[in-house]
């Protein structure tokens, strides 16, 4: 499966207060890491709706990282714990869908941890490179022709799961 020319595309959601600043710090400290990860800034890791992750896979991402403040250090007091709970649920769902564990990652990075974030990005990139392309859009089209239907179904399951969790 491993293809020497394969460059994974990873989408990352970073919280504004810690992880996005860690990314800024990695930049200002000129720490090098693979250019495979594309970042989206959200105010808090608690803002990351599991459908964002599904959406990224549906549009062809090979992996998704969610990064937030360390537990106990959330700018919004405790919302990263909610991200953590959702992540557990999301990982469970994705496992059921046959996704390898390495394709989703929850990463804590404080504003001072540029180097740690860069290391996590490097690790994840290598892990996903070894897993090979995911190519979800094509895979889904082969099965029932419509990724939209699949997403709708997932969305429904997600909504049900949320109700139970509450």
């Amino acid at each position: 499966m491993a293809d020497a020319t394969f460059e994974p595309k990873i989408i990352a959601f970073l919280c504004n207060w810690c992880s996005y600043r860690a990314a800024d710090l990695a930049g200002t400290s000129r720490i090098k890491y693979p250019p495979n990860l594309r970042m989206i800034r959200v105010m808090c890791s608690g803002r990351v709706d599991p459908t964002f992750v599904l959406k990224a896979f549906a549009l062809g991402a090979d992996a998704v990282m969610i990064a937030g403040c360390h537990p106990g250090e959330c700018h919004y007091l405790e919302q990263n714990y909610k991200a953590m709970r959702r992540f557990a649920m999301l990982r469970h769902t994705l496992r059921k869908l046959g996704l390898e564990e390495g394709r989703v990652r929850l990463q804590w990075a404080s504003a001072a941890e540029g180097a740690q974030l860069a290391r996590a990005i490097s690790e994840m990139t290598e892990e996903v490179r070894a897993l090979g392309p995911l190519n979800w859009p094509a895979q889904w089209s082969e099965e029932d022709g419509s990724i939209e239907t699949a997403i709708l179904q997932l969305e429904e399951e997600h909504a049900q799961a949320m109700e139970v969790a509450a």
């Binding site: 595309k9 990314a23 800024d24 989206i40 803002r47 549009l59 919004y76 959702r86 094509a138």
Partner: protein
């Protein structure tokens, strides 16, 4: 209606252009991305000429959206929003792509850098199409300020503000203000006496009508936001009624219990169970230390109460909780000294005549335990030779990698004081001499002339095991003299360890309490290391002095004044713009399930029983978006971070993914709310 989008790619000199092909990026954006009508690259977008470029295009080309591919939005989002606003466009219709911090500074692979930059620009373009015009909320700024920490930085900040006519609440953890500076004897390089220059400022603070001094108090909780914070302060029980106490000190004389003063006298002297840290303490009211007071221990004594002429002692006093409403906060919480016991080979705590720098300050100080006489632990013998060891716990990867900035100069000061008071030989073991500021190098020259010996090399060991004649009963300092290229063993009577500065042990907790960030070590992080050294990423919270990093008294005072100036600016304007990034619930979609109700830590969500729907109080909402992500009915929308905007950004970021269905431009998949 399709938008008219302008894309602006910044070279940032060679910072971006050195790695990313900016011309190609700008050309590609203009030709490939839908709705992009103008695409330009420029040397420095943030310069006034760069900003004018954007403003002119907005006016002439009728742009409705702007994307700037440059640095992190944390650096220049405000700049570009401001230029959009000045050209008549809503500032929230502008989006940045951080191709400097996230691309050019983190990779050298030019091809990959270009494709990642394209993805980021595509993401920003897709996202900005769905941006909504938002109006920032104007909130009034409460003119009162909270200053936390009563060292020289906090004192300076409080006095500047109070003198300008504003009310200040100064909170200090210890019974008196003064901080570390009050413990010092002389200050380098001018050798002014620390007390002579500090105590007048302390009494100014104590007497100032605009300063509410809360000593022996701590901030427990901070709520609110810029302009409108509420700080909950615990004023610990002193067991002395401030209203009745005259500060006569009879209670201190009569108290039968003596304990070692670990704080102010650095363990060298004693204090009573009812005490003032030092005679010039501000406020002058003593404190009863519950831990050592005989009455609190055994239920009997009350000597202080019996002798107090004004009946000011109150053993029943309780802690009081105060809620202070303030507009801005200045943190000036200072530093801790490195614990020299962590380097056992230097013998501190084991060898009697090894002192820390702070202990030596007390030893030299005329109001200290020896009344300024430099003597060994026996209390009578004057040392004939003294070794000063630099960089104890600083510039040492095992402890603190940073330079503590003040120790070289303190060591020179100590050398001078030892020579002046005892005539002893002084040996200074240094790695590098760093006398950086005005008059410092001259002071170093003076010490060279005074005959202080400088030995370049990190000390390996301080021992009392004598090996050679002349070492009996001495402390032997073993080091490699790296200039002579030989080992030296210098027998001395006294060793002073220049213990480094490190962040307060509770710095991390404090940073969380005030919602600011700190470095891995625990120094508070400034908004910008060069251009915004006293502001933090949290609006309305400023930092000053050594809580931000090691610095000497002049720099600390400058920062205290700078923070006060920033606060005065906020007060003078009178109002501040608050980001309109809040969540709202669409009543017609809300099923009233109340899942969101328990998610909000700020209690911004309430359930309207009459309508059977939830409601978000915008004034309390901080905009984290957790409820938006949780609503199973999709009834909550988060301004500026809506699902649609983020989906669009994802689809743009994955512009280059080959899809099975062969679609060229990915169309956002509508997910029913």
């Amino acid at each position: 209606m399709s938008e008219r989008i302008g894309v602006y790619v910044c070279h940032c000199g060679s910072n971006i252009a050195g790695v990313v092909d900016v011309e190609e990026l700008s050309r590609w954006a203009g030709e490939t991305l839908d709705d992009v009508v103008v695409s330009r690259d420029y040397k420095f977008m943030c310069s006034s000429l760069g900003q004018e470029l954007i403003e002119d295009d907005i006016k002439k080309e009728g742009l409705t959206r702007v994307v700037v591919a440059a640095c992190s939005p944390h650096l220049h989002e405000r700049t570009f929003r401001r230029s959009c606003a000045s050209a008549g466009m809503n500032p929230y219709l502008c989006q940045m792509a951080s191709i400097r911090e996230q691309v050019s500074w983190t990779t050298q692979d030019k091809a990959a850098a270009l494709s990642k930059s394209k993805a980021m620009v595509a993401g920003a373009v897709e996202r900005v199409k769905l941006h909504e015009a938002l109006e920032p909320n104007q909130v009034p700024v409460n003119p009162n300020t909270l200053v936390v920490g009563g060292g020289i930085a906090g004192i300076q900040a409080a006095l500047e503000l109070a003198d300008a006519g504003y009310q200040v609440h100064l909170v200090e953890r210890e019974p008196s203000i003064g901080g570390h500076m009050a413990q010092f004897d002389k200050t380098f390089p001018t050798l002014d006496c620390a007390a002579c220059i500090l105590t007048p400022k302390m009494s100014d603070v104590g007497n100032h009508p605009n300063i509410n001094l809360l000593s022996y108090s701590e901030v427990e909780e901070v709520t609110g936001y810029v302009g409108n914070f509420v700080a909950r302060v615990r004023k610990k029980a002193r067991y002395v009624k401030e209203a009745d106490c005259t500060g006569c000190g009879i209670c201190i004389d009569k108290c039968p219990k003596k304990v070692v003063d670990e704080v102010f006298e650095a363990g060298l002297g004693y204090r009573k169970a009812v005490y003032r840290p030092f005679p010039q303490a501000v406020p002058k009211f003593p404190v009863i230390d519950r831990e050592s007071c005989i009455y609190f221990e055994r239920g009997t004594c009350k000597a202080c109460e019996k002798f107090c002429p004004t009946n000011a002692i109150d053993f029943e006093q309780q802690d009081t909780i105060l809620d202070l409403e303030v507009g801005n906060i200045i943190l000036a919480t200072g530093y801790d000294l490195f614990d020299a016991r962590k380097i056992p080979q230097y013998g501190y705590g084991r060898l009697a005549n090894v002192y820390t720098s702070l202990e030596f300050e007390r030893l030299c100080n005329a109001s200290g335990p020896t009344e300024g006489k430099i003597v060994l632990r026996d209390g009578v013998t004057q040392p004939k030779s003294v070794a000063i060891i630099h960089c104890v716990g600083s510039r040492d990867k095992r402890h603190n990698p940073h330079c503590s900035a003040i120790c070289c100069m303190s060591a020179l000061k100590f050398g001078h004081l030892v020579t002046e008071k005892t005539g002893a030989e002084v040996y200074s073991f240094y790695i590098d001499m760093r006398p950086l500021h005005k008059g410092y190098e001259e002071f170093y020259d003076r010490l060279l002339e005074e005959g202080m010996h400088f030995i370049r090399g990190r000390v390996a060991e301080v021992t009392d095991a004598d090996r050679q004649p002349g070492e009996e009963g001495k402390l032997i300092v073993q080091a490699e003299d790296t200039l002579l290229g030989m080992q030296r063993r210098i027998p001395v009577d006294m060793v002073i360890l220049m213990a480094g500065l490190q962040p307060r042990r509770d710095a991390k907790d404090v940073s969380l309490r005030f919602g600011i960030s700190c470095s891995m070590a625990g120094w508070f992080t400034e908004r910008h290391p060069k251009l915004d050294p006293v502001a933090t990423m949290t609006d309305g919270v400023f930092i000053a002095g050594t809580c931000q990093g090691p610095k000497d008294i002049p720099d600390t005072v400058s920062q205290g004044a700078a923070a006060a100036a920033r606060v005065q600016g906020m007060i003078a304007v009178g109002s501040v713009e608050v980001e309109p990034v809040v969540a709202t619930i669409h009543e017609e979609r809300c099923s009233g399930c109340r899942i969101c109700n328990n998610l909000c830590p700020f209690n911004a969500i309430e359930f309207l029983t009459d309508k059977a729907v939830s409601y978000i109080n915008a004034a309390l909402c901080k905009g984290c978006g957790t409820c938006v992500a949780a609503c199973p009915a999709g009834a909550i929308s988060g301004a500026h971070f809506s699902n649609e905007q983020i989906f669009a950004e994802i689809s743009g970021l994955l512009y280059d993914v080959a899809r099975g269905n062969g679609a060229k431009t990915p169309q956002p998949v509508e997910i029913p709310a």
